[in-house]
Amino acid sequence: MLLAVSLMHHPASLGALYAVGLLAAATSRVPMWPLLRREWIVVALFTGVVAAPAMMQRVTPGPILLALPHGFTLSETGVIAAARLVLRAVASVHVALLLTQTTPWHRLLRGLRSLGAPAVAVMVLSICHRYIYLLLRMAGEMLTGREARRVGRVNAAQARGQIAASAGALMVRSQDTATAVFQAMAARGFRGEPKELSPSRFTAADAALVVGSIAFGVAAYLIGGVLNV
């Protein structure tokens, strides 16, 4: 689906693909509201900032679609370009989130291995994912501890100082944790080369899925071209 998203360029076909993704999420019983909130916040923050100015007549010349106060005008070409950008971004984010929400993390990592990602890289990714939550918990406890002992308000400068101090303390603790984790691995014989229980292999079923996905993407592109949508 990601391939199809990247091959399509008409907003209508991108919108249709996004709708298919939403349907897939609904049938997979993924909680819709949190999913939509996450993907639209990401898109609004990172893509909306770029897309909004692109709608202006001055930035993207073309037939005027709408006149706004203070002499601003939206061009049809600009609105289509912005819609394409936003829909492509939101459909891509949606597909990525759907994959991570419907597939256990360890199976995603095995998938990466079967696609040829180095064992060390996958292991580092796995440990990062594992310990980032531990660090977040530490950070939360530090903030809670600070709040519990604070009386009255702090001004912005004090708040910045406290955040910097917390970040420093957290960095020291993360280094200690990293050392301890390495020792835990070393104690069980780890010498820098991870070995796996059952190395994932790229099977015929995986190949069929890749070919099917490419065919879907190309078909979507061609149909979009023929129908001009």
Binding site: W105, H106, L109, S126, I127, H129, R130, Y131, Y133, L134, T177, A180, V181, Q183, A184, M185, A186, A187, R188, G189, F190, R191, P194, K195, E196, L197, S198
Partner: protein
């Protein structure tokens, strides 16, 4: 060759900033012993366990394991290191540190795979280890989503799967509810009954008699203050008070004070 598991002579250890953690530690450990390292926080119990597991190395003095020097140079030889790791395993105090794999199965398989077991055999070894600590149902679970007691069992399974001769445990009963603590003691009893050697660091006096036969008391000066049968150590109240393992205090119960 010596029959001793460990032979330490006048071992000192200081942190990189120079702060002493162990001073003049001499002790001998025979196969099959169940030893508790007792001491207040900061006395050096955990550091001693790390030295015994070759995760840290003594600043001075000599440490021998199975009749051979346990030094950084010796552990740099792959065959020596792999041989030692097969025989000595460590259960960390914080199970969150020890459990870094995405699933319980992969966690338990980690050690045998690193120590060059055949992956085909590893599955059977994992099955056995999970069954031994009664957690086969947790096989596909993510370790970090388990309860404290379950994490401790996974941590134990992840080292017992290697069938080590020596088990080093840092505060094994800390934070466990009574049922989980009981299950832990059963597992350690089975390990000891099979001839395994246990060294554990603790200041959990109530569980001590169930987990160890010999106690080594490390004082706040990082030196050994007593070494003998657990019962003798526990009845030596001046020693326990001096080493900050018990303290006298006022206790109020209703109108009574003692």
């Amino acid at each position: 060759m010596s029959d001793l598991v460990y032979d330490l002579s006048d071992v000192c250890y200081a942190y990189p900033d120079g702060t002493p953690a162990l001073a003049g530690i001499s002790l001998r450990v025979s196969p099959g012993e169940r030893i508790a390292l007792l001491g207040a926080n900061g006395s050096g119990k955990s550091t001693l366990l790390r030295l015994l597991c070759a995760l840290e190395y003594a600043s001075s003095g000599s440490v021998q394991a199975f009749g051979r020097p346990l030094s950084e140079a010796a552990m740099g030889v792959e065959a020596t290191a792999l041989g030692f790791r097969r025989r000595v395993q460590f259960v960390f105090q914080d199970a969150d540190i020890q459990l870094f794999s995405p699933t319980v199965e992969e966690e338990v398989a980690f050690g045998p795979l690193q120590l060059a077991s055949d992956p085909g055999d590893v599955r059977a070894q994992v099955d056995d280890a999970l069954a031994n600590v009664s957690i086969p149902h947790l096989r596909s679970r993510a370790p970090h989503r388990l309860s404290g007691g379950e994490k401790r069992k996974v941590a134990l399974a992840s080292v017992l799967v290697l069938k080590p001769d020596v088990l080093l445990l840092d505060e094994p009963a800390a934070g466990l509810d009574p049922r989980s603590a009981g299950a832990l003691i059963d597992i350690l009893d089975a390990f000891a009954a099979a001839g395994g050697t246990i060294l554990l660091a603790t200041h959990d006096i109530p569980l001590l008699t169930e987990m160890a036969d010999r106690a080594i008391v490390i004082g706040e000066d990082h030196r050994i203050h007593a070494d003998g049968p657990v019962v003798d150590v526990l009845t030596n109240r001046p020693l326990l008070e001096r080493c900050n393992l018990v303290h006298t205090h006022r206790a109020r119960k209703g109108a009574h004070e003692h």
